[in-house]
Amino acid sequence: MSLLLKIAARNILRNGRRSLMTVLAIAVGASAMLLFGEYIAFMILGLQTNMVQRIGHLTVSKRGYFELGSGNPAAYGITGYRDVMKLIEDDPVLKPMLNVVTPNVTLFGIAGNFDVDASKTFFGSGVVPSDRERMRQWNEYRFERTAPAQAPAMSDADPSRGVIGVGLARILGLCRPLELGDCPQAPQGASSASAPSVQDFSELAQRDLPRTAPKRGLPRIDLLAATAGGAPNVVSLYVARAEPQGVKELDDSYVVMPIDLAQQLLYGRGEHKAVGIVLQLRRSEDIPAARARLESLFKAHGLELEVHDFTELQPVYKQIIGMMGAIFSFIAAIMGVIVLFTVVNTMSMSVMERVNEIGTTRALGVRRSGIRRQFVAEGLLLGVLGACAGLLAGAAIAYLVNRAGLTWTPPMQARPVPLRLLASGIQPLVIGVWLGLVALATLAALIPANRAARMKVVDALRHV
């Protein structure tokens, strides 16, 4: 060990209590930043997992749909979407990256339950049920599941079974048939206030819909929408399950149905199209490569299609990351200021106590820079000790929290999930916190170190 570090280490030990307080302050800062960083990392990956399970990593749509199409999805259908899917699935570059490639249809209209004279505008999605289930199994970050896996509510074999939001189920008076708890009865005549005449709608449904036998135990709702040609169209959907959605507006209007039914509603007897082709990748880090390949593929084949990733389709993802980043920065800044003042105070006291020693070593031939290095080395050692202690303490706390069985409900989710502090894959965070605090402690020591280096030798030697 060099003389510099030897003297630094021994001076730290010599003022044990003061050094301990300084190390503790740095350690608390390191622990706080590490734990909060781990919490944010867990939350962001959890949010990402939830979104990717629902909407995949990338969505291919007709050019202009992202900007203008949501008002009229039928007009932005992808013609020959099965050929496009085959093109994607057979591409040798994309193939190893793909987990699921599936079409979807987005639509909206009016959902009605004529048994109770209730109706509500709905936002619907037509999916391939088996693909939907496979997408929901995506778990790149290996999160635990809180609730036991439910049997799929929809099946490729039965195009008339779908799922709706719990809020919509309440509005449509489906609490009892779907066995929903906490479900107040709507006052008479209040449920269809925002919808067109229920009577008109029911007449249309009774005229157009074939007389199908009710499915055993499943309530039926009717969905009314305008086809691509502008004509009204009606289909029946048997509600297999109500699933809570994290956002109330969505929960009150969400309908997911097999794509065949959605296409029948949206395109009637015309050509059935898909509004989007959803790609779920095996690994999220492949998004840029997959996107670039898709764009070049579409360009090469003259397809007027565009590609968007889930962060563009769900801007709230980036907003949450930005907000968490700002909170982390704020906490880091507070911790940084505390560490800065603590180290400056400790090192200033050390300089004041060692004025005579500074004079002596200068007289022996140590340069001003040598004195500066001596005190900076002490700040560095304090920083290293504090940062290491803090990271170890943080790891221990994370271990305990992860085994405490805590749960929480993340933003935009309806069900609680286990609360975890992400303990793996956080090397950049650990290195960043360690380096940041060590650098800060070292820089903080520079202030008193400069004061020590500027002392006149004779004045320092005279100091009592």
């Binding site: 021994r10 010599r14 005579n356 020693e357 002596t360 031939g365 340069r367 001003r368 030697l461």
Partner: protein
């Protein structure tokens, strides 16, 4: 006996019209008021005078840890005013050893490490460093206390470590400010004997600032100053 009556040996220090003034709470104080004299090499030289006469200031100037307000000082043949701050530090490291009244050992280093310290500053190799440090500690009689920290040593032992530290690098000039002031007379006498011995062995020049009659009785060169001026110089035959 006047030192001017015999041929002077080569000088370790030359002072010409050296003045040192400083401000003491707004009051201008002249500590050294135009001194001009030479100090010969390899001598046991004493700067004596009453308190406040400028002894310590003069010693600081000779040790290159203070600069004159005017005049010229050459130490070991070097005009120190011509050197940068870093160069003066290096010069001190190579040529000058210090012994302080309060010993001024580095408290967190052992006796061995304190003595080794100047050699580390000079970049001496590990083997030579160890050999010289151990020899120096043995010559001041502290081989057995090599691992003791300063707080585990008596006053006399501390001053022995300080002497070893000052001499381990083989400096041309050793400056000692009241080296016996904090020691009892018996220990003081032993320290004086030790310094005489190593001065002869290593042919170094010792310059003391002192009031101690016991130490003054060993002087080969005596410079008496009063009110910042040299009032008498006595030189004993070599």
């Amino acid at each position: 006996m006047s030192g001017d009556e015999r041929p002077a040996p080569a000088q370790v220090a030359r002072l010409r019209e050296v003045v040192k003034t400083y401000d003491d709470e707004g009051l201008r104080v002249t500590a050294v008021a135009g001194m001009s004299f030479d100090i010969p090499r390899q001598r046991f030289a004493m700067i004596v005078g009453p308190s406040g006469s400028g002894k310590t200031t003069l010693l600081n100037l000779l040790g290159c840890i203070d600069t004159p307000s005017s005049g010229r000082i050459e130490v070991c043949g070097q005009d120190v005013a011509a050197l940068s701050d870093d160069a003066v530090s290096d010069f001190r490291s190579q040529h000058i050893g210090f012994i302080f009244q309060n010993f001024n050992l580095v408290p967190v280093l052992s006796a061995y490490e304190n003595v080794e310290y100047p050699l580390l500053l000079l970049g001496t190799g590990a083997a030579e460093r160890r050999e010289r440090t151990e020899a120096m500690l043995a010559s001041v009689g502290l081989a057995a206390q090599r691992d003791h920290r300063p707080n585990q040593l008596s006053g006399g032992q501390k001053q022995r470590v300080a002497i070893a530290r000052a001499l381990v690098k083989g400096p041309e000039l050793v400056l000692a400010d009241e080296p016996t002031a904090n020691l009892d007379s018996h220990t003081g006498a032993a320290i004086i004997e030790l310094m005489r011995k190593v001065q002869h062995e290593r042919a170094a020049t010792f310059i003391f600032s002192t009031h101690d009659p016991q130490l003054i009785s060993h002087a080969e060169e005596t410079y008496t100053i009063r009110d910042g001026k040299l009032v008498e110089h006595r030189s004993e035959a070599a």
